[in-house]
């Protein structure tokens, strides 16, 4: 029994032979608890890199322009993501300000930059410095990236305010929507095992 050919299920610890993947997209599952053991994606590095580049551009646009404007009796206010966080901070609710800053700006940005740092060199057959540590950080942060939830928040806020005043959707709103689709596509096309297989190590 060679342990390099084996993998344990993350949810029930059962040992399996590392599955061989054929076809463009396939999932192998644990035969006992049905957890996904590995999701194979063809051309995973190219796809992840392309989607990450698109994500970086959309992230910049989504954060540079107001996503909503609010008009009431001739007065108008606009909001960007950062300005919302700053307003919360000024009201003394810094706990929520930090939570929103981390989950909708900082962590998605860190993840995008790490993906760029890892997948751009891999595309050219190079392994970036300290890839394992950096990529591990990105993986551990993923439960805390919540842009898609933020979009639901925007929709609820629009419906809530629409009876009270005039609500004008901004350019950044469409970028947000596209960014969320891009992030979901990135997650679906990233095969982390491809990255781990490139790490050199000694037992």
């Amino acid at each position: 029994m060679n342990i390099n050919n084996l993998v344990a299920c993350h949810e029930c610890d059962l040992l399996h032979r590392i599955p061989r993947h054929e076809g463009p997209r396939c999932v192998s599952r644990c035969r006992r608890c049905n957890a996904a053991l590995h999701r194979g994606v063809e051309n995973s590095i190219d796809r992840t890199l392309a989607l990450t580049l698109a994500g970086v551009v959309l992230f910049v646009v989504a954060n540079s322009f107001p996503f909503l404007a609010f008009k009431l009796q001739g007065q108008e206010t606009q909001t960007t993501l950062i300005s919302g966080v700053i307003d919360l901070y000024h009201q003394g609710k810094w706990e929520i300000a930090i939570l929103v800053l981390l989950t909708t700006i900082a962590i998605p940005l860190i993840q995008l930059l790490i993906q760029l740092y890892v997948f751009l060199p891999l595309k050219f057959n190079r392994v970036p410095w300290n890839m394992a540590t950096v990529f591990r950080l990105a993986q551990n942060l993923s439960p805390w990236s919540m842009m898609e939830v933020f979009l639901i928040g925007i929709i609820v806020a629009i419906v809530k305010l629409v009876g009270m005043a005039q609500i004008i959707p901004g350019l950044a709103l469409w970028s947000f929507a596209l960014l969320i689709v891009t992030l979901a596509a990135t997650a679906a096309n990233m095969d982390s095992q491809v990255v781990w297989n490139r790490v050199e190590y000694q037992r």
Partner: protein
């Protein structure tokens, strides 16, 4: 290998949480590191049951002020109105905006409570060494992992309202203290799902396969 069910723990192997590499070791003693990615290696997540219990109890405690204290405080032409989670839901339901009322009801009340009760059930079932329907219990765990993040919806709604509605005396919305406690509930329940180790469900099953 093909017929008999052998776990990594049975074989004296530790599976890396981050990169899935298997290493030899019992995981009981010294701090071992994954040779490939550098994560700490453990047989099971350390003190999983105690940590998850502590986080679940803390989340329940925070859930009380989160529901009693206001999420938003609206000042409009001198009139001040505080809204809790429940009063917001009721307002929408009464004004015919039931889809939005339903979204907030789901995200702020149904999701966090479902998640906490599922975790408590899983903790008790593991502690009682239950062998009942492990596949379904593992699926319940996957549900708690997937739904927790959606509770953040109301926090984001408050953030957007605060940023948009700041017209001085005409209309201003401030975040209430309840929002801080509600944020704490969401964070605590997400960490609780991360500290729970679903392999504990299966550890009680091993003896039946011999």
């Amino acid at each position: 290998m093909t017929d008999k069910l052998i776990t990594a723990a049975d074989a004296g192997l530790l599976s890396c949480h981050s990169c899935s590499l298997l290493s030899k070791g019992s995981g009981q003693h010294a701090e071992l590191q994954c040779p490939r990615c550098g994560s700490a290696l453990h047989k099971r997540k350390p003190n999983s049951l105690a940590r998850t219990w502590a986080l679940v109890i803390a989340a329940f405690i925070c859930y009380i002020p989160a529901n009693l204290l206001p999420m938003t405080v609206v000042t409009s032409l001198g009139a001040v109105q505080s809204d809790t989670i429940m009063s917001g839901v009721i307002y929408f339901m009464q004004h015919g905006e039931w889809p939005i009322g339903l979204v907030i009801l789901l995200a702020s009340i149904v999701v966090p409570l479902t998640k906490l009760f599922i975790l408590i059930y899983l903790l008790i079932s593991v502690q009682r060494k239950s062998q009942w329907r492990p596949v379904e219990r593992t699926r319940l765990y996957r549900i708690t992992e997937a739904i927790g993040r959606w509770s953040m919806t109301d926090i984001y709604v408050v953030t957007i309202l605060v940023a948009l509605v700041r017209l001085g005396n005409l209309a201003t919305i401030e975040a209430g203290v309840g929002a801080i406690f509600f944020g704490a509930v969401v964070v605590l329940t997400i960490i609780a799902a991360l500290t729970f180790d679903p392999r504990e469900i299966w550890d009680n099953m091993e003896s039946t396969h011999d």
